[in-house]
Amino acid sequence: MILKYLSRKQWALVCVMAAFVTMQVWLDLEIPGYMSEITVLLGSGGATEEIVGVGVEMVLCSLGSVVCSLCAGGVAAYVAAGFAETVRRIQFSKVQSFSPEEMGRFSTYSLITRSTNDITQVQLAVARTSQLVVKVPVMTYIALGKIATGSWEWTELTAVGIVAIIIVQSFMLFYVIPRYRRVQRYTDGMNRVVRESMTGVRVIRAFNAEAYQNAKADTANDELTDNNLFASRLLAFTRPFNGVVQNMLTVAIYWSGAVIIMGAASSESALFTFSNMIVFSSYAMYVVSSFILLAHIAMGLPRAIVSAQRIEEVIDTDLGIGDGEGAEPVRGDVHISFRGVSFTYAGGSGPVLSDVDLDIMRGETLAVIGQTGSGKTTLVNLIPRLFDATSGTVEVDGSDVRDYRLSDLRSRLGYATQKPVIFSGTVGYNIAYGSGDVPESEVLRAAGIAQLDGYLSENDGLDTEIQQKGANLSGGQKQRISIARAVCRRPEIYIFDDSFSALDFRTDIEVRRALRRETSGATTVIVSQRIGTVRDADRIVVLSEGRVAGIGTHDELMEGCGVYREMAESQIPREAGT
């Protein structure tokens, strides 16, 4: 269970909370006793001072109960907040150490929910439901003890009331709660149609499909409404029902009290029965309401348990990729080499890479080209160990990448991913990301190479604020920032995974020219689909279905590699071609 992350101190506090709850319930249940005392005093003509005395005790009791419940609530909230902090941290740092494979297994969206909403659910359960879990049995136990001295008939009546409540509450649990759970699903369905209609507004209008979309929206809307109507109509019944049971129980106890009193032997015993009757009816209310609270637990707990399990799944995930012992790089001519590398995604049907043998020389610019699914991205992802080869080895500077410490290995790389990642913050922050404390001149140099000068001068320079996910940037600007980020690290190895695709041709050329000028000496791996982007590389690797279909310069491949020639001919204009 997730509760194992509660520290010993927190467990102690939970006990304190339980003590406070018990105290509070006990004090609460003392109050009707005082009432009974007052009744007796009234009936036997006691002095006013006596009544005030009992009254003061009663007020103190009530104050004490509030103080206890505040303390219990405070302690529970404190434990819950601390617990949530701990679990949130454990989970976050676990996810941060995930490899892309593990990220993919859960999906980013699900991991976000697990780190936010699920934690909140668990926190709420610890803060609220935990109090109820203590309160209900204690209350039932003490209240039952109190009324054990009452008339047997009253107990019977109370039992009838409880049974009625249990029937209705369980009816609610089985029919209403599942509906409430489903509300979310139907709401999602509704939202999906609306989002669809908005993102596709041009297409929908172009195809005159407004009525078609509306029909879908209406279906979702009707489903949602039907579900909500059913749930809220059932609730319309259960709520008043609880009240009716409580009220009728009181009346029944009074009536049977009247009958008992009528048959009482003496006026003393009649008075005793009378005050007992009033007290009993109060306690009976407590017992009945504790059964109503029980339904609240039944409502709150399962949800929290599901959330807790989802969190644990993340925390208990075994990491596939971890640090190596630490290896010493040996500087040689070959910088990166793939030796008989094959790769299969977990759960994937076939290998994405098979038997790749490839040496990348120091300072060389190597381009990788191939169709979708040919394994280009997978190949470059093996270098920073985002994935580990299924068989064969990937070596950097003569050592298996698995022998390096991850941070050592990755700090030597500058990687611009296929989908540019932009963080909220300034442009400067984004470029200097991962470069430690670099002087501004370095950041500006990187921005310049990525042809961001114009953008910077049109905006607030490096201090230009970027919205979340780079909402205020175009695709090309995002790619250039991501290129600048790689450049800023001054790495030994550059990896550009299709990082030029959103740039128009002119910018593409300018960025590559600047890169060539500024990064000479570094080893560069470029993945692209544009012949124009790869043709000036020192060597080009053509991947086809996970195998190397050809290695060489543009001219060599035009001669000897059919796959390459086919691709090239589709792209290079007849007049401008070679």
Binding site: A84, A236, G243, K469, G532
Partner: protein, 591 residues
Amino acid sequence: MMGGSKKSKPQDLGEAWVNILRYIRRYRYVFVVAVVLSAIGSMLSLIGPYYLSDMTDAIEDGIHGGMDIDLIAGLTVSLLCVYAASGIIQFVDNYLMATVSQRSAQMLRRDVSRKMDRIPLSYYDRSSKGDVMSRVTNDIDTLGTSMNQCIGSVVTALTTLFGSFILMVFMDIRLTLICFAIAVVGFVVIKTVAKHTQRYFRDQQRNLGAMNGLVEEQYSGHLIVSSFGGAEEAMGRFDAINRELRTTSFRSQFLGSVSTHLNGLISNVGYVIICVAGAMLYMEGAITFGVIVAFMIYVKLFTGSFTQLSSAVVSMQSVAAAAERVFVFLDYDEMPPQGTSVEPERVVGRVEFRDVRFGYEPGREVIHGFTATIEPGQRVAIVGPTGAGKTTLVNLLMRFYEVDSGDILIDGVSIRDMDRSRLRGMFGMVLQDTWMFEGTLRENIAFNRTGVTDADLDRVCREVGLHHYVSALPDGYDTPMSDEDSLSVGQKQQITIARALIGEPPMVILDEATSSVDTLTEMEVQRTMDRMMEGRTSFVIAHRLSTILDADMIIVMDHGDIVETGTHSELMAEGGFYRDLFDSQFEVPDP
């Protein structure tokens, strides 16, 4: 679920509620009945303690002999009747209210989705999707769930407040005043506490927002975070927010429970005060014992309805704010009315631009008097660097936007005089973003077209090169598609083209951009596009040389403006912007 709870105040509480009530006038009878019932229901639950008090007195009288069992039996029966009746009435009332508010929410959702069709496209281009989404979902949900609760509780609270006050006055004026004092003091205390604690709830919301933001960003940027060793830096920020969140969530959780506990305290203190004061009055013989019993209940109801009223006002405000946002959307200016539905007999696809002027914003014209004639079957290539406004002409042709002056004619008929849906039906459109929706492949291709047979589907799929893919699918055309990564960009594009082709449109609008597709898929998609353009008047946002070279007219755009028009050879000879663009595109960087 926490987060996202907007407690914004409406501009005008009264006006918003008048709008709500006007909107739900269809349910006015049900609504009035429900309001009356809830008043009656709460009156009945007030009468209960009154009878109970009589019953207690009768029993107490009987302690010393001479129990009037018939009176007690009568009271018992009346009480049972009163409680049963009040229960039934409450049930009917809740039932009606739930129905009214759920039906209203349904009506609102429906109206909003209809409205979405009638507002001009510029609204979507300008406003954020999240904003519209939240109007359609969160705001309407707030209306649906809170409307009945707050109307119900206002009515109940007011009835209880006045009813119990009157009944209490009838029974004993002194105890009534005490009750009143307790309720007022309690109300003031709770209000004060609430006012001072609000800050902490805002802090909590802010921190939760910051936490969600960080987590979302880190997780979605995970590839870069791990490649660039950013986890440590993120951990620092995470810890800072996490610590803050711990403090604020503790505070808000704790303080949130304070007002509930205070309610309990007030009602308990009230209970004791009534007991003691009642006892003293009883000793003096001023009141009967039954009055104390009745007051013990009334003090609870009375103080309770005070707090109920104040929380109802808060939720009335949030309902009004939500309603305001929804009604603003429903009142948004709609598109100008349809044309008179003149249409060419048979569409051959001759398109004429006559001195077309247009600007997205008033005073910032981007197209300055464009005139051109495109003969049936001709191809127009629109070229220009990214962000040059290449979709503007498409927007005008499809009447997503209206021209400011000048006219566009199709086969001699102004598109302004045409029904929008007729006009759009003439074009097959394939945009760069391959919009797919959750549904089967059949639904995604046939879309809103009815009577599409499998043979039709086979035909287009063969035409666009999807038939291999389809035959590999487990359920063929009935395989569910979702807008996820299960389909490649190329396949999505092919499906989009199939969708456009199945209607056999006389004219096509194409965006050739296939930036994230690899070469071979690109070739396949482009072969399909070529086939699509054959024999049809086509407007192509061109990226490929062959398209440009084969075009009958090239429209060169830059910074939103049309800078040059002509054929490839004309434009190359001119040596202007096009020449420059063309050269840079196929230039090889210096080795």
